[in-house]
């Protein structure tokens, strides 16, 4: 018997603290699989954000840093500038990356910092109790938009991948989704490319991962995936927004 599917080695064998059906878990696994596949585990360093994935430093078995909210790209910059031959990645939520950490992500991209960002867009601040994120959809009800997000009051969701692609320092930017197997497979490819871009020293790489938060969306897991598909995909087109000539 050959194992066709097993836990990647880069993930410590312990249960996740995530909610049932939370796709943070899938995203973790994909990252770990890519690290295994590229055989870079020993030189990989993870930077955890503040958000539901704050404990990802426990799960990824590599060396890790727990960064202050939104500043993972600055922390990663510090690490990578000292240890330029290591592989560094941040794992950030949309509150972390697209709200408080806007300055840090924009300028890490602008400087072409040679690390990889896994950006989990679940359209909500999950850890703190389901508040509106910059990525929350128009009309979306959250604990701080009890009447639904309204453009007049709260503006419109930000498309980070598109925005960062404007910057010359961004080498690779793609948006993927985890709402079904085909997309999970595509997500894995994008994550792999992003790490490859880093290993090749080509600059800043980011994969935006549309992810479900059943708990804070107030939906059972399967309905959450459906909501993602029906609503998020409309506003957040999937695809590669930027890729270096060197990498296919």
């Amino acid at each position: 018997m050959k194992k066709v599917f097993q836990r990647p080695k880069s993930l410590k064998d312990m249960p996740f603290h995530y909610c049932p059906g939370c796709t943070h878990g899938i995203a973790h696994r994909l990252v770990a699989e890519v690290i295994d596949e590229l055989d870079i585990f020993e030189k990989t360093i993870a930077v955890a954000p503040v958000g539901c994935s704050v404990f990802c430093y426990e799960y990824f078995d590599c060396d890790a840093y727990q960064a202050s909210h939104g500043r993972a790209p600055a922390v990663a910059t510090g690490i990578k500038r000292v240890l330029s031959d290591r592989v560094v990645f941040t794992y950030q939520g949309d509150g972390d990356l697209a709200a408080i950490g806007t300055g840090e992500i924009v300028h890490a991209a602008a400087r072409g910092e040679n690390f990889t960002v896994i950006f989990i867009n679940n359209a909500v601040y999950a850890m703190t109790g389901g508040q509106m994120a910059p990525t929350s959809l128009l009309g979306q009800k959250t604990t701080t938009t009890p009447f639904g997000r309204d453009h007049k009051l709260n503006g419109s969701p930000v498309r980070m991948s598109e925005m960062l692609s404007v910057l010359d320092g961004t080498a690779y930017a793609a948006r993927v989704s985890l709402h079904n197997p085909a997309n999970v497979t595509r997500a894995r490819k994008a994550i792999k490319k992003a790490f490859e871009v880093q290993v090749a020293g080509l600059g800043f790489s980011m994969v935006e991962v549309l992810s479900a938060c059943p708990t804070n969306w107030g939906l059972p897991p399967l309905k959450a995936l459906k909501w993602l598909e029906d609503n998020m995909l409309v506003y957040y087109p999937l695809g590669e927004f930027k890729r270096p000539a060197e990498v296919i």
Binding site: Q6, G21, N180, P181, P214
Partner: protein, 73 residues
Amino acid sequence: MPRVTFREDRCKGCELCKNFCPKGLVVMADHINAMGFHPAAVVEIEKCTGCATCAMMCPDMVIEVEKEDKKVG
């Protein structure tokens, strides 16, 4: 025949595996596990193609899939 192993104590009963199994082989058990969830399990394993779709969609890496190691051709 492939082997699909569920690490029952880790299952959170989210039903993603069940939903995406192309053959519809995953069911949720009646009992609950220590975490209070109805864990998933495979029935009619003989129909399983070993495609690992269930495993791929499981957010909690509950599922391991093994397949006969047959050489092609």
